[in-house]
């Protein structure tokens, strides 16, 4: 395949990852360019979140071989917060609860940390207002503590609010659709679609239904730490109908 190397954001080549001595990712390669949406589908335990975490730099995961480059630079040189400041964003499958940390304060500080400069209160308020309107979020969110007592759907909505505000150049969305009802799914998709043109996007999901709202350019199937099949949106439909058994037999 001829790729536009100039627009390439992420390149993963033959990646092997272990946790506490157990290999979870067993030779995975993937390249992502600006504006592309790559869906990664696979059963529970196939290593999807491990991939997301290792990209963001979680210290529990060791890269035993292979390379990841981000805009042509080796990613391993960057600490977690430096990755964020370099434009990477992970929407967590299970976002952490931060007791006592107000959503409003957290968002402003996070924008400032990522951009490396103070943000005027007025500008922040305007951006926040627009993003919250897009995601149909009530102002009362701002004075709650981050993810404290949030429903599954509220947590995911807050993740996407951060996505929209931080405007990353690489977005990794780990099961953002799980726990969302159909209306919430539509709303969250609006947020995702807004960042896609400026970003490369990895969408990890179990279900085809998110892909009805967020158009994937590529669909990859992950089994036991490897991408066993890649294709277009049709592949997602086929998985929805036939499951993973036919691929497992092949692998």
């Amino acid at each position: 395949m001829v790729r536009d190397m100039a627009g390439e954001i992420l390149n993963i080549s033959n990646l092997h990852v272990s946790v506490e001595g157990t290999e979870i990712i067993k030779g995975l390669s993937l390249a992502i360019s600006k504006g592309e949406v790559h869906a990664i589908m696979g059963r529970n335990g196939s290593g999807k979140s491990t991939l997301a975490n290792v990209l963001m730099g979680h210290p529990a995961y060791q890269i035993t071989s292979g390379e990841i480059s981000y805009y042509g630079q080796p990613l391993e040189e960057l600490e977690v917060f430096e990755r964020a400041r370099a434009g990477m964003f992970l929407s967590f499958q299970y976002p952490s609860v931060l007791p006592g940390v107000k959503v409003g304060t957290f968002l402003k500080k996070s924008i400032e940390a990522v951009r490396g400069e103070a943000v005027k209160q007025k500008d922040f308020r305007n951006q926040l207002k627009a993003a919250m309107a897009l995601l149909d979020m009530d102002r009362s969110f701002l004075s709650r503590y981050v993810n404290d007592g949030f429903s599954g759907g509220e947590k995911k909505r807050l993740e996407i609010l951060q996505l929209v505000l931080l405007q990353p150049s690489l977005a990794i969305l780990d099961e953002t659709d799980s726990g969302l009802d159909i209306d919430a799914l539509k709303i969250v998709s609006k947020g995702i679609n807004q960042v896609i043109p400026q970003a490369g996007c990895i969408v990890i999901t179990h279900y085809q239904r998110l892909l009805e709202h967020v158009k994937a350019d590529y669909v990859h199937v992950m089994i036991d730490g490897k991408i066993v099949k890649s294709g277009g949106p049709d592949l997602a439909h086929k998985l929805e109908e036939q499951g993973y058994d036919w691929l497992e037999a092949k692998a």
């Binding site: 977690v80 952490s96 931060l98």
Partner: protein, 475 residues
């Protein structure tokens, strides 16, 4: 705080390391007694203040009790038993009198109170302030509208001179000199502190504040505060304190007595940020009469050793006690703090929230006492104690005591010890925060139940102080 004030204190921090207020002015004292304690020193303090004889007698009696009284056996006996009382200065007068215009205060002292943010706060949202520098107040102000409503807010020395009958009636009635060794010491050598009287039905809308600054080396500061809130009145009193960083020990031993008459409300907030060479041994107690409310909002983030357990005696039916306390124990710090609530009457309620953080080998201890007398029917109390340990070298202990003499009491007690989780840190770092900033956010969040009780400006200051404390030691 103005930007200028922040950058000045940043400069100060560069000089003294993590602690922002460790600078000191030259000792230009008008009078400084020789170090050491004796009956004569006690009499000299009383004489130099031209006190009535009854006060001299109280002091001398307390002095003898101090000499005979044994040291507390809890807290940190090693440190307590090593205090060299002969190496402490018991009285130091910095200016000839208390001024009501900053222009009349020596310039270096003005600058010091600028740097700690007091003058800025005075101009914007406080109803009155007293600035104490070593033994006595150097500056005092109160808004005219408060004065015209009959509010009395004075330094304690002036309070004794101008209102001897009130002082005589209430001094030592809530905390008698025989309460403990350090209450006896304070009663013997007290100097400065605040005297506050709020008349019936008067609500003081803007907080009033005292700031206690130790400047001289080897200083002992022994302020004495008495707050009387008459029936149906309310007041919010704030105290802040800082001291220079010296190698030798300074001693701060205050006594604070509060009386909330029927239906009154007193909120007493403390931001304690002494340098690590200060031993902070304080007795604070309140009497709450019928349907009154007393709140201690107490923070201890400075000092090498603090032993302080704000107490409330719920004496009147329907009275309410609230203690919200936070402690931060970093390197070379032991925060031995807590709360005591005594339900002495029926239908009384109390809430105690205690939060502590230990880091870099610091030690925090919660020591609590909840008592319900047999005659106190239908009381309710809730105690929540949370400790957060930031590393395995640090230590946290909890010693709750309960004496429940009435079975109708409705009690809740929750306690937790937690660590910062790796997942929380990873989540925050994935949002652009470095490890130290991430820890700072978690710590600020942990203390939020405290900071939300403070006026907004002080909440911001408090979070800044905590973030400074978080600096340095995290890799």
């Amino acid at each position: 705080m103005s930007d200028e004030a922040i950058s000045e204190s940043d400069e100060a921090r560069d000089l003294v390391g993590e602690y922002q207020f460790g600078f000191h002015d030259e000792d230009n004292s008008v009078i400084r007694f020789n170090n050491g304690l004796s009956e004569q020193i006690v009499r000299d303090i009383s004489a130099i203040k031209n006190e009535p004889e009854w006060m001299t007698d109280i002091r001398v009696k307390a002095y003898h009790h101090f000499v005979e009284r044994e040291m507390p056996k809890w807290g940190s006996p090693e440190i307590l038993n090593n205090i060299d009382f002969e190496a402490i200065t018991y009285f130091l007068r910095s200016t000839d009198s208390t001024k009501d215009d900053w222009k009349d205060v020596p310039e270096d002292i003005q600058n010091t109170f600028d740097k700690v943010g007091l003058r800025e706060a005075e101009g914007t949202w406080l109803g009155g302030i007293t600035a104490q520098y070593d033994s006595e107040a150097v500056y005092h102000s109160i808004r005219e509208d408060l004065e015209s409503q009959g509010v009395i807010f004075l330094d304690m020395d002036t309070g004794l001179r101008e209102h001897p009958e009130l002082v005589k009636k209430y001094f030592g009635k809530v905390v008698p000199h025989s309460d403990n060794k350090f209450a006896a010491l304070n009663t013997a050598v007290w100097s400065g502190g605040s005297f506050v009287y709020i008349p019936k039905g008067v609500h003081v809308e803007m907080p009033i504040q005292s700031y206690f600054r130790i400047n001289a080396e080897n200083m002992g500061q022994f302020e004495r505060t008495l707050i009387l809130a008459d029936e149906g009145s309310s007041v919010h009193y704030i105290e802040g304190c800082t001291a220079p960083s010296f190698a030798s020990t300074a001693l701060h031993s205050a006594v604070v007595e509060l009386i909330a008459m029927d239906g009154a409300k007193i909120r007493y907030s403390t931001i304690q940020n002494w340098s690590n060479n200060v031993l902070n041994l304080v007795t604070k107690r309140a009497h709450a009469m019928k349907n009154s409310t007393v709140e201690w909002i107490d923070s201890n983030i400075g000092s090498g050793l603090t032993m302080k357990y704000p107490a409330i005696l719920l004496k009147g039916e329907g009275s309410h006690a609230e203690v919200v306390s936070v402690a931060y124990a970093g390197k070379d710090q032991h925060q031995d703090t807590g709360a005591k609530v005594h339900h002495l009457a029926a239908n009384t309620t109390s809430n105690i929230i205690s939060k502590s953080i230990s880091k870099d080998g610091g030690r925090s201890t919660y020591r609590g006492m909840l008592q319900v007398l047999p005659k106190a029917h239908n009381c309710r109390s809730k105690i929540v104690c949370d400790a957060l340990m930031l590393d395995p070298d640090s230590r946290s202990d909890t010693y709750p005591t309960m004496e429940i003499g009435n079975s109708s009491a409705d009690l809740e007690h929750e306690a937790s010890v937690s660590k910062v989780s790796g997942d929380q840190l990873f989540y925050l770092m994935s949002r652009g925060f470095n490890e130290q900033e991430a820890m700072g956010l978690i710590v600020n969040g942990f203390f939020e139940p405290f900071t939300r009780e403070l006026p907004a400006d002080y909440a911001v200051e408090m979070n800044k102080l905590l973030n400074i404390k978080m600096e340095g030691s995290i890799g």
